[in-house]
């Protein structure tokens, strides 16, 4: 019985103060630019990194693991919802798309 291979992931959440989307980096920072996020390719590491994120309730809200792909330019989202989270809404130039992240 072969298990489904683990698909690469990033840890993401919302910032406690501003509420905007943030991602966990390899050096334990939170970034507003997904390209700087740590792309995790090992399931055990992913669980560990999620626990690390969840241990920071004074910084982040609602941390979760989500699929991402390696583009050579840092991780990029796979699902359209995660794609929207990297930019902001489509009806106005508000949010990340204009905040220079």
């Amino acid at each position: 019985m072969s298990r489904r291979p683990f698909s690469p992931k990033v840890v993401t959440a919302n910032a406690l103060l501003e509420g905007d989307a943030i991602w966990l980096t390899r050096d334990d920072r939170w970034t507003r630019n997904m390209a700087e996020a740590e792309l995790i390719t090992d399931e055990a590491v992913a669980d560990d990194r999620l626990l690390f994120a969840m241990s920071q309730p004074d910084v982040v809200v609602g941390a979760y693991l989500v699929d991402a792909k390696d583009t050579g330019n840092g991780p990029e989202p796979i699902h359209f919802r995660e794609d929207f989270r990297t930019r902001g809404p489509s009806n106005y130039a508000h949010g990340k798309q204009v905040e220079g992240v």
Binding site: L17, G19, A21, P57, D58, F80, R81, F84, S90, G95
Partner: protein, 556 residues
């Protein structure tokens, strides 16, 4: 308009100061998110896709100019200079920072407003006919009763942890503009044969994943029995409603699973106990509330300027044709200001527009404004002689779109541009449809057509009761849009029927165009609106229009 008394004022201020302390404790780490979340939701504060969102109640959709200016001030000072009016007569701010929210709530309290019970499993903002107190077809103004229910339900100790959220709507007109049949409880003000005032009580309506049209549980409830009877319904639901399954927790499921008769028997039994606890105090309060909703002093003036402007100015005439409704006072009109400029976001109003609307209300409109569940702003009392000037001010501020009731007057929820629950975007679809039909210059020819879009199954965009409904879904990681036809939000309420497989974001606008073309081909004349044609000819011709290849394959 209702004025807060000392109790209201003290209560709202106290809640603001409690929340201020809760935010401080969250920020200094003494509250976890699990502990804080129910506290922020009690104050209308959500965490969405890109930011926090604050949902502020506009009870029964009524505002004065001072309140509207304060909403504008909040938009400028703590948000991005705009607000979003919703299908529940709320305003949502999409970009507040957590640390600023207590100050925003304080600013709301300054103008007798709050965000209490705009979330959570409580009795939510009580909605009403947006033409209340003005409509020609009205039996009575529903707002005093709505205010009574607001006072009764706010912080009601028994109803803070219901199985699920609970929504009440009231109308005082036989023509239902408040969607009462799609609410947990709908109240229709009626008079019995003896001429006494009372309510038809409708229960168990709702949209969402299991749409249901409400059922009449009481044909005539005397006015004095209203609160004890409401308390009995909610109390029976509180005990009987399911807490084991979120999707079966609304009262519509409770009524459906137990049967209306069984539910009514339980409510009647409970009512016998509860009514004894109401000793008339509620009626004394209602009488006081009614005084504050006395109609304004309407003036009489000639309408000649209005008629002259109509014959001289075609754009003004077109606007008066679509955006006015009949007022009960002679010489007056109800103005619906469309917040649906072609290509704009339905329901979004800039702070500048809010101030313009406040100024008009103050100068010409007896200081009254309403927010409709259709995401427009109403100026309920405008004398016709003032309409040319009102129109000119609206036009100069991008608020004179002549499309009320037409295909571009779209209800759209925020969808995945903002909402964390959404499965697809709604706003861009609304923008594209409105722009397309404006380019075609077809919408006045099409006539009345209610198009409603939701970005998920929860149906905040009321898609089930749109003549044309669009539901945005996630199909294998791609946005997909499902069409329903034949829905109706009025007193003849009906849930729309699914037309067939969904369409991609690129294909949905052409699909809507094909439906409209089929309607134009099949209607008996311009006086037969889309919904009537649909009811006469059924789904078949629209299916042929929507899925031409499939239908011709069947024929071959």
């Amino acid at each position: 308009m209702y004025k807060y008394n000392e109790f209201d004022e003290g209560f709202v201020r106290e809640r603001v100061s409690q929340f201020r302390a809760q935010v401080e404790r969250r920020l200094d780490g003494s509250l976890t998110e699990d502990e804080f979340k129910p506290l922020r939701l009690m104050n209308g504060l959500y965490l969405q896709l890109h930011a926090y969102m604050l949902r502020v109640a506009i009870p029964y959709g009524t505002l004065n100019s001072r309140q509207m200016r304060q909403l504008a001030m909040i938009a400028d000072k703590w948000d991005q200079g705009y607000g979003h009016f919703t299908t529940r007569q709320n305003i949502q701010y999409n970009w507040p920072k957590l640390k600023d929210v207590p100050d925003i709530l304080e600013a709301l309290a300054d103008v007798e407003m709050h965000a209490l019970q705009t979330s959570g499993n409580t009795i939510r903002n009580v909605t009403a006919d947006h033409f209340a107190g003005a409509a020609a077809d009205e039996i009575a103004d529903p707002r005093p009763v709505a205010e009574l229910i607001r006072q009764w339900s706010t912080d009601h100790p028994e109803f803070q942890f219901l199985p699920r959220k609970f929504k009440v709507a009231v109308t005082g007109s036989p023509n239902d503009r408040a969607v009462t049949k799609a609410h947990d409880i709908g109240l229709r003000m009626v008079r019995n044969d003896a001429g006494e005032a009372g309510y038809e009580v409708i229960v168990g309506g709702g949209l969402g994943r299991t749409p249901m049209i409400g059922k009449v549980i009481r044909e005539f409830l005397p006015q004095a029995h209203l609160l004890p009877y409401l308390e009995s319904i909610v109390s029976v639901y509180n005990v009987l409603g399911r807490r084991d399954n979120k999707y079966k927790a609304r009262i519509k499921i409770t009524v459906a699973e137990n049967g209306l008769d069984e539910f009514r028997t339980r409510v009647d039994a409970r009512f016998e106990q509860v009514r004894a606890q109401f000793k008339g105090f509620d009626q004394e309060i209602l009488a006081k509330i009614e005084q504050s909703f006395a109609p304004p002093a309407f003036r009489s003036a000639p309408e000649t300027d209005y008629e002259a402007a109509r014959s001289k100015n075609g754009a003004f005439r077109a606007w008066t044709d679509t955006n006015l409704a009949e007022h009960k006072a002679p010489g007056y009109a109800i103005v619906t200001v469309s917040i649906k400029a072609h290509g704009a976001t339905p329901g979004d109003t800039t702070s500048e527009q809010m101030r313009v609307l406040a100024d008009i209300a103050e100068r010409f409109g007896h200081d009254e404004l309403r927010i409709s569940h259709e995401q427009n702003v109403i100026l309920p009392h405008i004398h016709k002689s003032d309409l040319p000037e009102v129109y000119a001010v609206l036009r100069d501020n991008g608020l004179a779109t002549a499309n009320v009731g037409l295909i571009s007057d779209i209800i759209a929820c925020p969808g995945m541009d903002y909402c964390a629950l959404a499965t697809a975007r709604s706003i861009p679809i609304a923008q594209e449809i409105a722009t397309r039909f404006d380019d075609l210059k077809l919408e006045h020819e099409i006539g009345e057509l209610k198009l409603k879009i939701s970005g998920c199954i929860n149906a905040c965009g009321h898609h089930h009761v749109g003549h044309i409904g669009i539901l945005g879904l996630d199909r294998a990681g791609v946005e997909s849009y499902q069409i329903t036809l034949g829905g109706d939000a009025t007193e003849t309420a009906a849930v729309g029927e699914r037309a067939g497989p969904g369409f991609s974001a690129d294909d949905i606008v052409p699909a809507i165009e094909r439906i409209v073309q089929a309607y134009l081909e099949h209607r008996e004349g311009p006086e037969e609106i889309f919904l009537e044609t649909y009811r006469r000819v059924g789904m078949a011709p629209f299916k042929v229009a929507l899925y031409p290849e499939k239908e011709s394959a069947h024929a071959a």
